[in-house]
Amino acid sequence: MTELSTTPGSAASAPAGGWRTATVRKVTHPHPRGVMLRLEVPDRVDHLPGQHYVVRLTAPDGYTAQRSYSLSSSPDDPLIELYVERLDDGEVSTYLADEVGVGDALDVRGPIGGWFVWRGDTPGLGIGGGTGVVPLVAMLRHARHTGATDRLRLVAAARTWDDLPYGDELRDAGAVLALSREAGRDGRAAGRLRPEEVAPLVEGRGDGWTAFVCGSAGFAESASALLLGLEVPAADVRVERFGPS
C-alpha cells in the first residue's frame, strides 16, 4: 500500500491479516450482557491497539453472517481478546455469547483498520462509551507493556457500572469514570460526562496528540462535540462509531 497524505493526519499503513481458523481458549461472562472471548489465531499478524477483527459464522446449510469486533488485547498478548455485547436481536452476538465454548473453532479475519489506532509513541486521549472502551483497553494494555502509560489518558462513560466493560481495569489505570444513571463508587453523582471532567486531560497537548472517541453514534457525537467545545481541533479527533443509530 502507498502512504499518501490524503487526509489531515492520514495514518501510515497498518498491519492486515487474512482469514484464519481460530480456536477458542477462554470464555467468560464479566457482565450479564457481555462475553469475553480469548482466541488463539494461527499464523497471526500482530495488530495495533485500536484495530478490529471480523468474525464469520457459517450455518450447516452454508448461510453465513459476519460482524466486526474491536480487540481489547495488546499486540504482545499471545491470544487475541474480544469483548462482545450481546444484542437480543443480534444473530452473531447471541451465538458468541450463548453457544461458543472452549475448544470451538471460529473463522476470523484481521487485523483490520489503520485509522483508529494508537501506536504508543504519541500522546493520546481515549474517550469510550459502554463497549466503546474495548479498543481503549487494548491501548491501555499496550501502554503498560511498553512503559508508555504517561502518554495515554482515558475517560470511560456508561449508564451504570454493569454497562462498563473492564471497569476495574480502567479504574485502576486512573481513567475518569462517568456513570450517567448511578453514583460512582468514588462519590461522583450520576450524570453525563461534563466538560470540566475532560478539560484537564486536553491541557498541554504535545506533538501528534490525538483523541480517540469510541461508542454509539450518539455518544460519539456528544463526546466529540465536548472536545470541540474545549477547543480541540476536529482534525485531532478520530472517531469509531458502532451499533444502531
Binding site: T7, A16, A59, W115, L228
Partner: protein
Amino acid sequence: MTVSHGFGGRRRPPRSDLPPGQYDAGREWPVLTAEVTPHLDPQRWTMSVDGLVDTPTTWSWDEMHALPQSDYEGPIHCVTTWSKFGMTWSGVSVDVLLDAVGVQDEAAYVLATSTTGYTTNLPLEHLRGGQAWIAWTADGKPLTREHGGPVRLLVPHLYFWKSAKWVTRLTLLEHDQQGFWEVNGYHDLGDPWREQRYQGD
C-alpha cells in the same frame, strides 16, 4: 470454512437482491464516520470538478439546485455488512457535472474529497451512466448531518464508504490514487456483489 453447529442465523426470508455476506437492516440506518461530524453551511458549500477536464468548474448550492435533478430508488450496502432497501434519493446526476466540464480522454479515475478532508477513490466508469449522484435528500427529507448532510456523493452500487459524506470536490485522474479507507486496507473498487471489502478481495 468452519461450520458453527447450532448457528442458524436470523433467517429473514432470503432475497435475491442481497449481496453475499450482507444482512437486511430493515428500518435502521446505522451511522459510520471516522471523523467529527461537521456543521456545513449550504451557502458556503461549493461543489467542484477538476483535474483532467476541459473546464474546471465550481457550483454553489443554489447553482447545483438549478441543474436538472434526478432520483435513485433502491438499496445501499455498507461494508460493515448491513444493507438498507427501498430508499429514495434525490440530487444531481454526476453525469450532468461531467458533461458540463468536458472529460478528457486520459481521465480514468476519480478522487472524491469531503469538506473534512475525507477522500475516496473510484474508477471514472463507475460514476457515469446514471450510477452516481450528488445527493441532498433521502427518503424525501433533507439529508441529516450524521448521514452526510447537507450533501453527499451517492454511488449505491458500491459499498457505501465510496459515497463520500459532505463531498465538495471530484478530481479526475489518469491513475488511481487511494483515499482514506483505501489507504487503511479497504478495497479500491468495493463491489458488494464480488464482496470486495478489503485490499486483495
